[in-house]
């Protein structure tokens, strides 16, 4: 168990990684349809991202909801900024906004 408060852990995680997805399950094996959908979008866009399984840690699961004032999982952060959940990510992907966001923020693409 870490002594660091959850909010600090979340802050360092989103500061240290271009794209962080708080999800149920992990990118290889998502445990919920919404988490799977966002994973699929990110994979299709070929960006590097860190998937964090909140099912492994009850404090983290509640902590991310408080951190972003957002009641559900999955939650996508890009360069430290909360972008949204599954609905928003899908809408932005369809409209081309997501690619624009990634490019304007200069995120790393997978090889």
């Amino acid at each position: 168990m870490s002594d660091k408060p959850v909010s600090e852990r979340i802050q360092s995680e989103i500061d240290d990684n271009d794209i962080v997805l708080y999800m149920k399950g992990n990118p290889m094996m998502p445990q919920c349809g919404f988490s799977a959908a966002v994973t699929q979008v990110l994979t299709m866009m070929n960006v590097k991202f860190k998937g964090v399984d909140v099912l492994q840690d009850g404090d983290l699961r509640e902590g991310v909801k408080e951190f972003s004032s957002w009641p559900t999982i999955p939650q996508l952060y890009v360069k430290g900024e909360f972008v949204g959940g599954c609905d928003i990510v899908r809408e932005m992907h369809d409209s081309g906004e997501l690619k624009q966001l990634f490019d304007s923020k200069g995120v790393e693409y997978a090889s």
Binding site: W70, T72, G85, D87
Partner: protein, 77 residues
């Protein structure tokens, strides 16, 4: 636990009086809804802010009585 579509609509309208709310019960179990909310109050706000307004209207039921809510929000055309 689940929630009636009427109650969902009522809660949203209590917080966002001018909202037009279209609700779809995705699985017929009262627990997985899709809602499209249109309101002039969404004007100028980011999607995250718009969705947060809807979540706030639900007063903590999200994740408790309500398991899944697919949201689409927009300001009137």
């Amino acid at each position: 636990m689940a929630m009636e579509a009427d109650e969902l609509e009522k809660l949203i309208k209590e917080s966002i009086p001018d909202a037009e709310v279209m609700i779809n019960d995705l699985k017929g179990d009262g627990d997985h809804y899709a809602a499209h909310v249109v309101s002039a109050e969404f004007e100028g706000k980011t999607r995250v802010q718009q969705h947060q307004m809807v979540y706030k209207a639900l007063q903590g039921r999200m994740g408790n009585e309500l398991h899944a809510l697919a949201l689409q929000t927009s300001a009137p055309e």
